[in-house]
Structures are given as C-alpha cells and as structure tokens.
C-alpha cells in the first residue's frame, strides 16, 4: 500500500471517524451540561426568532463597528467564500463528497476554482501576518490559533501544488493533499476550527437570551 492508497482508504476513513467522534463528543459535552431555568418574565416570546436573527445579523458588523472590523472581516469572508468555492466547486471534491452523500452537482470552471484558491491562500497569509503583528492578536493568540491556521492552510497550498503538478510526482502531491485534509479533519473537533458549528450554537444562544430581554443583539 503506497501513500496515496493509504490516504484514499484507511486514512480518510480513520480521519472521518475521528472527526465525527470528536464533533459529537465536544457537542454532547457542551450541550449536556446543566441548563438553568430562567424565571424572569420575558419581554418578548420570540426567543427562537431572536436566535435566528442574531445568527443572520451578526454575519455583518453593526454600522458603528464596521470601520474597526472591516479589514479583517473582509479577509475572513474572502477566504471562507474561497474555501466554499474550492470545496464544493472543484469536480474532484464533488466526486469525493458524492461517495458519502450520493448526490452530486455541476462543478465550476477550473479557472474560477484556481482563482478562488489563490485568493484564499493570499487572504489567509494576510490574516496570519495580521495575527503576528497586531498587539491584541499577538497577546490573545495561542497554539490552537496558529496550528489551526496551518492545518487549514495546508490543504489549500497542497491542493494548489497538486493541481499545478508542482513539487513532486503527482501521486505524492495528491496523497499529501489528501493527508493534509485528513489532518484538518482530525484536528477540527479539538481546536478552534470547531467554530464552524459552534458559531450557530453560540450566536443562537445569545440571540435567544438577549431577545428574551429585548436587549440589543
């Protein structure tokens, strides 16, 4: 069994198993903690609407904060949208997802995906530079922040190399790319990448609680 065979077979299966195991572990570990009943009289009864509202509304900053958060937010959006384009637009990825979901859809032109990858990588590098240079970010950053960045950046970088056939034999480039994605899957539930699912929980929770009070969300 060569590296590629491992990556496509047991590697992927194992990484997915760890991913799902870790995800459900972490979510159950959070959600099954105690919840206290709030006896105060709610100002409005639409807590679920509030949860939904904050989830949607917080996707863009309030006007008052826009100038302070505009640059990092724009970069973050760039690379998140880029990741979505790459993940769901490249045919090779669609074919992989089809293996698990049974559904497939039309792929995007490669030129667009390649552009998205380049933009994504550039935005991620810019965000890393910001993290390394901004005093606040430097203070609050920990291993998780840097490692999660690396783990998210590697699949993009190795994917671009594989597409361009640069830096080695294609089967090795492809294997490394798949392995890097597996590393991402394995790390995902244990680090801050988990925000992809926690963002809904956290925003929803605040949205519900604050709306209950009629407070600002």
């Amino acid at each position: 069994m060569n590296l590629l065979d491992f990556a496509r077979g047991p590697g992927l299966q194992g990484a997915l198993a760890i991913f799902l195991f870790g995800m459900t572990w972490r979510l159950a570990g959070i959600l099954l903690l105690r919840r206290k009943t709030d006896f105060s009289v709610a100002r409005t009864g639409d807590w679920w609407f509030g949860a939904f509202r904050l989830i949607v509304q917080r996707s863009l900053p309030r006007r008052e904060f826009a100038s302070a958060t505009g640059y990092p937010l724009a970069l973050s959006y760039l690379f998140h949208i880029g990741l979505v384009i790459i993940l769901f637009g490249l045919n090779q990825h669609i074919l992989l997802l089809r293996t698990y979901t049974g559904i497939s859809w039309s792929n995007l032109p490669s030129g667009l995906v390649n552009l998205a990858a380049a933009v994504t990588a550039a935005a991620m590098v810019a965000l890393l530079i910001r993290r390394l240079s901004h005093p606040v970010l430097r203070l609050i950053s920990n291993f998780d922040d840097y490692f999660s960045w690396l783990v998210a950046f590697l699949p993009v970088a190795t994917g671009m190399l594989a597409v361009a056939h640069l830096g080695g034999r294609y089967e090795n480039l492809l294997a490394i790319h798949i392995l890097s994605a597996e590393l991402l899957l394995v790390w995902f539930p244990f680090g801050k990448l988990m925000h992809a699912s926690l963002i809904f929980l956290s925003r929803g929770t605040s949205g519900a609680l604050l709306t209950r009070k009629g407070a600002a969300i």
Binding site: L12, Q13, W25, A28, N91, Y170
Partner: protein, 355 residues
C-alpha cells in the same frame, strides 16, 4: 552465430538508409538527441546478433501478443527479427525435450551475454507447485536462467509487479521478478500489456550502450515512464478547464471531455500510451473513450473499482462512521456528567472565602 546485426538486416534486404531511419526513430523514442542516431547505427550495426531467452510464467501471453501482433514490418519486428530468440515457449517450433535442450545450449554458448526476457509472475506458494515447466518450478527456472543473463527485462505488469495473479488474496503467492533477482540489473517494462516498442527499445538500448537505461523508483525506464498518461493526454485541456464526461454516453463523452469522473487513472499512471499509442499509433484507451486503468502501476489490480474517480475514497464504511459518532455522543455525555458531578461537589465545599 557470429553474424552482426547489420549483416543480418542486409541479408533481409533492408537498406542502410532504412536502417539509418530506424535508428533515427529509435533515438527519438529513447529521448536521445538526433545526432545520436548515427552513433547508434554504428554501434548497432557492429553488434553481434544477440541471443535472447524468453521465459513465461504465470501469464496470459498478452505480452507476446502485443509484441508479435504488428501486421506490417516495423521497428519492433526489425529488432525482434534480428535477434536470436533461442527459447520462447509460445513461438518456438521445438517442443518437449528438444525445446529445453535448445535453451540449455543457448545458455551454455552465450553464458553471461544473453538477454533474459520474462513475462508472468512467479508463484512461491506450495514450493512453487502452482506453475511448473518440464517438472521444474518457475522459481528454479528463473534463478537458473537469470544466473547467466547479462540483463533481465521483466515484460508486463505480472513479471514487473506481480500483476493479476498477485491480486488479493494472491492464492499462488505470486511475486515479481525483481523480488527474486536482486544481483542483476533488472528493468521493468510494465503494462498489461506493455507497448511493444518499449520492449524492443530496451533490447536496442542494451545492444547499443551495453547497459539498461536510467530507471525510476519502480525500475521502469524513465524515457517511457517519465510522464503520466495525464501529462501527455490530448484531453488534458478539458481537465484543466473542468469539463468532464459524467457517463459513457452523455454529451461530455461525445465531445471527448476528460474521463476523470469515470475513473480514469491517467494522473497517477506513468506510461507512454498517450504519445506512442497502440496498434501502430492508431489509438489508446482514452482516445477510444475509456479511462486509463493504470495497468503499468504496482497494485493497480487491487485499488478498487476502475470506475471509481481518483479523488473518491476507496473505503467508506458509513455504519462504522455512525458508530464513531455515537461513541462521541456517549463519551461527551460522560464528560458532561463528570463535570456536573464536579460542580456539585464544589458547591458543598466550605465557602470560607467570604469569612
């Protein structure tokens, strides 16, 4: 047997000019500069007509078919006709004891100088009993004949890497030639079957330079296995544009779009099919609308469906993943219960902080 290759050719009515043309083509095939053609012609012309012994083990004769199926004179039968094929079970007229005797004679006469070509894998199970010729196991035959060979060419994927006989669960314990012969230059010419000119190219190269050409990590000659099918595929621009055939009969297939989605293994298969093509350069699998199976790569027989796209996983056990998710919930629940318990125990501890 002291006749040179050129003498032999001339006796077959092949002109020097035609020979020069062959050498030019050969040099081009072997990725040598055009100026090397003249030198090759000189070296090959003076070469002794070589003795070649061809051993067939667990194989399907497809490799021999590939080599002999040319229906008009070509470079491969030029070389093939000029060699002294002293032993080839399928092609030789002699049979039984006489055939074995011919091989013994050739080995004795050209000991240390003959070229050994092998097709088929070697079964090791049950003492090699799965395949024997004249009561001798393939393993013993190979060892004995290889001992006196100047070079060994493993023809086809079975002799190069084990091939289909080695497929899971490998009932005969099949192995490749290079698993057994470790003290001699062995070159692999894999493919199921290999491209005929590649086989003769190896012989020609050995005759010209007295050595086998440079090889890659799988002992394949780099000149023929240096690029992937994908690298040289005429459908590559479609891949680059993201245009894929989704089924064998859709619009994409009719338009000749990339066959990646239909399981083409071209991107990870190193061979010259896309440039040399088959049947005197007529076509190759992708050109006829079917993806590459990856037949010149080790283990191609055991890598899942030929129609599974390269990027798709080869192992997706959904129930096992569901179990993993369930186990996660269970572990998370235990963690939450432990945390609750720890919270409870702290609430009973003395609160002497406030005094």
């Amino acid at each position: 047997m002291s006749e040179t290759l050129e003498q032999n050719l001339r006796s077959h009515g092949i002109s020097r000019r035609a020979f020069l043309k062959y050498c030019t083509t050969l040099a081009s095939l072997l990725a040598l500069p055009p100026s090397a053609a003249t030198a090759m012609a000189a070296a090959l012309g003076k070469a002794q007509r070589p003795s070649v012994i061809w051993l067939s083990f667990q194989e399907c004769t497809g490799c021999t078919e590939s080599l002999t199926r040319s229906n008009s004179p070509s470079l491969e039968d030029l070389i093939f006709n000029s060699i002294s094929l002293d032993y080839h079970e399928t092609l030789q007229a002699a049979a039984g004891t006489a055939a074995e005797q011919a091989r013994e004679n050739a080995m004795r006469e050209h000991y240390g100088k003959y070229i050994l070509l092998v097709d088929g894998s070697i079964p090791l199970g049950h003492g090699g009993a799965y395949s024997t010729v004249a009561g001798v196991s393939n393993l013993d035959t190979l060892k004995k004949v290889a001992a006196g060979a100047a070079a060994v060419v493993a023809v086809g994927t079975c002799s190069s890497f084990g091939g289909l006989p080695m497929a899971n669960p490998n009932p005969t314990g099949a192995v490749a030639v290079s698993d057994i012969i470790t003290d001699k230059p062995v070159i692999n010419v894999p493919g199921c079957p290999p491209i005929p000119v590649v086989i003769t190219g190896m012989v020609a190269h050995f005759l010209t330079f007295g050595a086998l050409p440079e090889t890659d990590l799988h002992k394949r000659p780099k000149v023929f296995y240096g690029d992937t099918i994908h690298d040289r595929c005429y459908r590559r621009p479609f891949y680059d544009q993201g245009k894929f055939a989704r089924t064998f009969d859709d619009e994409g297939a009719r338009n000749g779009w990339c066959l990646y989605e239909l399981g083409c293994k071209g991107p990870i298969t190193y061979n010259s099919c896309a440039t040399l093509k088959w049947n005197e350069g007529t076509s190759f699998p992708i050109q006829s609308g079917h993806g590459c199976l990856g037949c010149s790569e080790p283990g191609f027989w055991d890598k899942g469906s030929f129609y599974q796209p390269l990027s798709a996983s080869t192992w997706h056990d959904i129930p096992a993943l569901a179990i993993a998710a369930g186990a996660g919930v269970a572990v998370g629940a235990v963690a939450a219960v432990v945390s609750r318990h720890r919270q409870d125990s702290t609430s009973q501890s003395p609160t002497n902080g406030e005094k």
